[in-house]
Amino acid sequence: MSAKSEVAAGQSGVVVDIAGLHKSFGDVHVLKGIDLRVQEREVVCIIGPSGSGKSTLLRCVNLLEQPSSGTVELLGIDVTDPDVDIDAVRTRVGMVFQAFNLFPHHTVMGNLVLAQRKVLKRSKAEAEEVAWANLRQVGLGDRATFYPSELSGGQQQRAAIARALSMNPALMLFDEPTSALDPELVGDVLAVMRDLAIEGMTMMVVTHEMAFARDVGDRVVFMDDGAIVEQGPAAQVIGSPQTDRARIFLKRVLDPTHIDDSEIGQTEPDDPT
């Protein structure tokens, strides 16, 4: 509805515009100058070794972390400006966590309705109608009355996606959405995300699922040590990476049983000491 049209009217279709982003936790310099722009309907997959700052980058986009310097513009609004109503901006950005983070004291329906009612002030009937539509989309039309603890991990994650979608976001952030799942449950979640991408959702996806990144991602961004080392069309970055770091990383992910002894530890995060 209005959500989509607003974005379409937004500045030249840029949904996220990150410029010169730095983030430090105390003395630890985690993000070292990130520039990244995400167009409307684009799916950007972010890959890279553990500890390279992928989660921190996503969390800076919806201000779960406060950037140390640089700017993050969402839909043309600079969210790092202290005068901006960050709660209002956050309703336009859905976030899906590795650990699902469903509210355990609510049913699936309760999870989907809560923020619609409290934040968007939708009527109960309207909120439930939206929730039903999203539950059916993620294949959970028969689980509305279940509590999260009664669902499998894959179902919980799909419920979490439906919860985020119920706010009609202009952008969806995924932080390793399938990393906590048993292997046989990964496919359902990825299928839901692929459908979202096909429908034109703008997405930033941190993932280790290279097949997903290659097939669904428009662009792949390889991060290492707090910086973007390489980026480009998904097939290019994954198929023929240009940098050594990306090559080693991809080899490890795609073919973990064939690592040379000389390469052991090469993509581990640096020892902080």
Binding site: L64, A88, N101, F103, P104, A115, K118, L120, M167
Partner: protein, 282 residues
């Protein structure tokens, strides 16, 4: 039995340990259990033999004394409940304020709340009750209107120290991801607190708070320190008064002890049930 001494190789030091006949752990456990049952049985038998059964009737379940107490029992029971509710209400409200202070980003609030909790957990409740009756009238120039207010404040002050710690722990036991999920859906900090954190913390703190309620119930017995009019007697005072009656023995305290159990046992049972239920839902 199988407890034979080690055969002759015991003279060969390196093999000493191996050579000792081994008792299987399961067998050891069975023997140890048998011994424990034996001790228990012996203790019970000795107690039954040593006890003077006729005395037990007159000293602990004296019907005359029970009869005399019965009329005042409902009032005393009601007073105990009233004092408990007053004290717990104060403890809960003040404890909530202290818990929020403990989690405040303003240092002095945290220090104050911590110092408060340390202080009131570190001194006997009895001293607080004693002091309240005298201190507040002197310090603030007000006379506390009645016994319920006095004991409510005194025990409430003590209880708040424990309650604040319980509430703080409960609030912090809710995973960070819960707040982050709520915030990323656009809920404000206070909305996230009200809709997501507090409902979950509530379940966590209910069992320990119920246990605190049991403690407060028993502590209302300290009210006797403030000097009671007959209409203000609660269970303990009623029971100890009955001790003065001739030949009644301990009957008075036995009776009120049983009444306390009528209050506290169900509460304890409730707390344990909630704990089990919480454990299942995690």
């Amino acid at each position: 039995m199988s407890l034979q001494p080690a055969p002759a190789e015991a003279a060969d030091p390196p093999r000493l340990i191996e050579a000792r006949p081994k008792m299987s752990p399961r067998k050891k456990a069975r023997i140890s259990q048998g011994i424990q049952y034996g001790i228990l049985l012996l203790a019970i038998v000795l107690a039954l033999i040593a006890m003077d059964w006729r005395k037990l009737g007159t000293e602990m379940f004296n019907l005359d004394v029970i009869g005399a107490m019965l009329g005042d029992l409902p009032k005393a029971f009601a007073n105990t409940l009233t004092y408990t509710v007053a004290a717990f209400a104060v403890g809960l409200s003040l404890g909530m304020v202290l818990a929020l202070m403990k989690m405040s980003s303003v240092g002095p609030y945290r220090w104050l709340a911590t110092a408060y909790a340390e202080f009131f957990r570190g001194i006997p409740a009895l001293l607080v009750v004693l002091s309240i009756g005298f201190l507040i009238p002197i310090l603030f120039g007000v006379k506390l209107p009645n016994m319920t207010v006095k004991i409510g404040i005194a025990l409430g002050l003590v209880s708040a120290a424990y309650v604040s710690e319980t509430l703080r722990a409960g609030l912090q036991a809710v995973p960070r991801g819960q707040v982050e999920a709520a915030r990323s859906l656009g809920l404000s900090q206070s909305q996230a607190m009200r809709s997501v954190v507090i409902p979950q913390a509530f379940r966590i703190v209910l069992p320990p708070l119920t246990n605190e309620l049991i403690l407060v119930t028993k502590d209302t017995s300290f009210v006797y320190l403030l000097g009671l009019a007959t209409s203000e007697y609660e269970l303990t005072k009623l029971g100890t008064n009955a001790l003065n009656q001739a030949n009644g023995g301990l009957t008075g305290v036995v009776v009120v002890g049983l009444v306390y159990l009528i209050i506290t046992l169900p509460l304890g049972h409730l707390a344990r049930r909630m704990e089990k239920k919480n454990a299942r839902q995690r």
